[in-house]
């Protein structure tokens, strides 16, 4: 009898021990998992949402990424979606976006209106024998967030005072086409002085006119990028709050009175900075490890020299807010630094494949300042021409006795596929020839019908090379 009891007890103990060891094992696995935060940076309409969707889909299916070393070497096991680390922010609805792209007829996801995030767990076999002896398979958690590109333009404001920002914004407005777009707001400005009584209705009027001006900038032919503050365009959950009722005022000489229109606007600007911009930055951008900057080069060429200049300025300004530097064990203690940055010219499928070299060279030229600044900080930088979802095929046709590298696809808003020569990208700095009024007319395309139905992941151009640059060393 006694013996039986002992036996039972031993059995229970064994079970408990087994469970405990199992827990320890799981815990150890968790601790050993690496985490990588990828910042997908890009101005409005540069294709962030589609990029993130394609990235997730391709990593889950893994059939179209031959240039990723971990996949080429057959060390990649699988990827799975997990809940994001931040329980309060919404999940990136990958399934919804993928459904939009693969629907019949397929369509592009609508513009992003809020922040969302997702964690993708990548399982792979490590290369180093030491690591493999401890951990036969390793896991890397890849965190990606998606947000409206407008909000990115708030980042340069972090380092500016209300006075600096007002001066800067008003200087910008002095040039065409902004001067014309903001005529009504400028007229309102001429009727007020900063020393006026702090009147709520006046502030609302000014903010409303300024918001109209920003919307006009966005919608205009020139497709301007430097549009601040971003929440005026895409307010998210802040629509109608007093945080969004301010606008730049011409700074007078000397210090304006505290109890004035200037004082009111100044206070709201500072509140906007600390409660909206800084929060957004700290929650999502302060701890990035890798960054990809998506640039819609073709859209800018379509819109003309003003847009190109504006985009360049906007990009340089908002990249200054990030912490770049050389990663190392010390950076783990002193805070996160972005040690690899990839500049990518998106929508590479909108030109023939033979143009990709020129496209990349053009991007090199456009981001040279930002790139040098980041390199100076010690981070590694590369540039690439990519397409997150490949919508066209490159074909060769004969046109008036010339062989032309054309593309075949369905232009946006049409039903039928067509072959067209979209124009070529010059390989020199002379982008806009004098005698041609509108030298570029790159069309947007519909996602091809039946895309992604083969289960190998969304077709893409150089997504694998981008991922290999961004994640490759963490998947070794």
């Amino acid at each position: 009898m006694k013996f039986l009891k002992w036996n039972q007890l031993a059995h229970v103990g064994e079970q408990a021990l087994g469970q405990a060891l199992g827990h320890v094992n799981v815990l150890a696995g968790r601790v050993m998992e690496g985490t990588l935060r990828l910042g997908v940076t890009g101005l409005r309409r540069s294709g962030k949402t589609v990029f993130v969707t394609s990235l997730i889909d391709n990593l889950i299916r893994g059939g179209r990424l031959p240039f990723m070393d971990v996949i080429a070497a057959n060390r990649f096991l699988a990827a799975r979606l997990r809940a994001g680390p931040d329980r309060t922010s919404p999940r990136f609805s990958y399934e919804k976006y993928l459904a939009a792209l693969t629907a019949s007829p397929p369509h592009w996801p609508a513009a992003t209106t809020g922040v969302s995030q997702l964690r993708l767990a990548l399982r792979f076999l490590p290369t180093s024998p030491l690591r493999r002896s401890i951990q036969p398979m390793a896991t890397l958690n890849l965190d990606v967030i998606d947000y409206p590109g407008e909000w990115l333009m708030d980042l340069p404001m972090l380092n500016q005072s209300y006075r600096d920002w007002s001066t800067h914004t008003l200087e910008l407005t002095e040039h065409q086409p902004r001067r014309q777009l903001g005529a009504r707001w400028l007229h309102w400005l001429s009727t007020v002085t900063p020393d006026l009584r702090p009147d709520e209705s006046l502030a609302r009027e000014g903010a409303a006119l300024y918001t109209d001006y920003l919307h006009a900038c966005r919608r205009s032919q020139s497709n301007l990028s430097l549009v601040q503050p971003g929440r005026f365009i895409e307010p998210g959950e802040l629509a109608g709050t007093p945080l969004l009722t301010f606008c730049p005022l011409p700074p007078g000489n000397g210090e304006p009175r505290a109890h004035s229109l200037w004082g009111l606007m100044n206070e709201r600007f500072e509140a906007y900075k600390s409660m909206v911009v800084r929060r957004f930055f700290v929650e999502h951008f302060a701890r990035l490890d890798r960054q990809i900057v998506l640039v819609d080069v073709l859209g800018m060429l379509n819109a003309g020299p003003a847009a190109l200049y504006d985009m360049r300025m906007a990009l340089t300004a908002c990249l200054e807010a990030f912490h770049h530097g050389r990663g190392g064990w010390l950076s783990r203690l002193t805070g996160h630094q972005i040690d690899r940055v990839l500049f990518a010219a998106t929508k590479a499928d909108h030109v023939a494949a033979s143009q990709h070299t020129n496209m990349r060279n053009l991007l090199d030229m456009l981001v040279s300042e930002a790139r040098n600044a980041i390199r100076f900080e010690g981070a590694t930088v590369d540039t690439l021409a990519l397409a997150a979802v490949k919508c066209t095929e490159t074909v060769t046709t004969e046109h008036q006795g010339r062989k032309l590298a054309c593309i075949q696809g369905t232009p946006l808003g049409r039903q039928r596929a067509t072959v067209l020569f979209p124009g070529s990208i010059p390989d020199g700095p002379d982008l806009f020839p004098e005698n041609v009024s509108q030298p570029y007319r790159f069309l947007d395309f519909e996602p091809p019908a039946g895309v992604g139905r083969d289960g190998r992941g969304l077709p893409n151009i150089r997504l694998d090379q981008a991922l290999n640059f961004l994640l490759g060393d963490h998947l070794a």
């Binding site: 031959p66 020129n358 072959v419 124009g423």
Partner: protein, 343 residues
Amino acid sequence: MTNTSYQDMGRPASAWQAPVELDLHHPDPAASPAASAAAGSAGHQRNDTAGLVALAAWPQWSWAVPAFLGGLATLVLVALAFDATDLMGRSFASSSVLGVLVTVVLAMTVGTAIKLALDEMISIRRLRHIDSLRAEADSLARANGHGSALAFADTLGDFYAGRADLAPALHALGHTVNDAHSDAEVIALIDRQVLSALDQRAYRCVLMASRDTAIATALSPSAALDVAIVLWRNLKLVREVATLYGARPGQFGSWRLMRRMLANLAVAGVTDSVGHVAIDALGGSLAAAISTRLGQGMINGLLTARIGIAAMTLCRPVGFSADNKPNLRRIRSELMSVPKEVL
């Protein structure tokens, strides 16, 4: 402007082409991805003088030498023919059975001689083909072009058509390569999807051969035997590696390959710089302190490995790129364990 190549279309000023839409249903047979692949292939230049082949080129003989050799060979052949007919006549004269027997043996000898010569010619042609493939891949990877590499991939597919072990890789390559890849990218994909598996197998061959020579020279009692072993094993290794990459050399062909490799080793130091030889030798000297024979074995093993790697470099239809160059480090560490095994 009919022969405008892909690269030229980026330059605007002289021949500005405005954006234009062409009708898809226009009867234009060229408007297909396959045609686009073929269109660019005419423009590229073959760079035969580049790389190892040029380094190993033998000095040109004067016209007198081939003329002399040809004359000599003709004379010998004529003499042999006379002798053969004479032999046949004499054997028929002595007995008809003997005559038939001699005739049959004679026919067999002539037939096999012709077959051997043909085999050698085919093998040499295959080696030349590999050389030209490598030169083409090299120029494609450098030229920054687009569209021509698909034709190269087809050529390589034809070259490896009979290989069952490569069929899955070639099939997968057809799926991964698309019209957006540049020439350099297609070459890189061929390199990692098709040839890297061959590299692994070739590498194993080299490792085995280098261990064999190391152990055999360490154990062999005489220097003459050493030379014979090293020579035989190296020749076998070269044939193995060449066969793996599809060169299939005959007897004469592998001697030729060997000669070219020796020239390469002497001229260029294919795999490592001269400094590495010193390091290899120094590494060997540790073991040599224990036994001279073992040290010699190690050095012979390393030389075999170098010859094997040179053979890999010469037989690969696409040249090694910067990130997958074979190195001696692994073989060296592997060889360090040989003394233990032998002792």
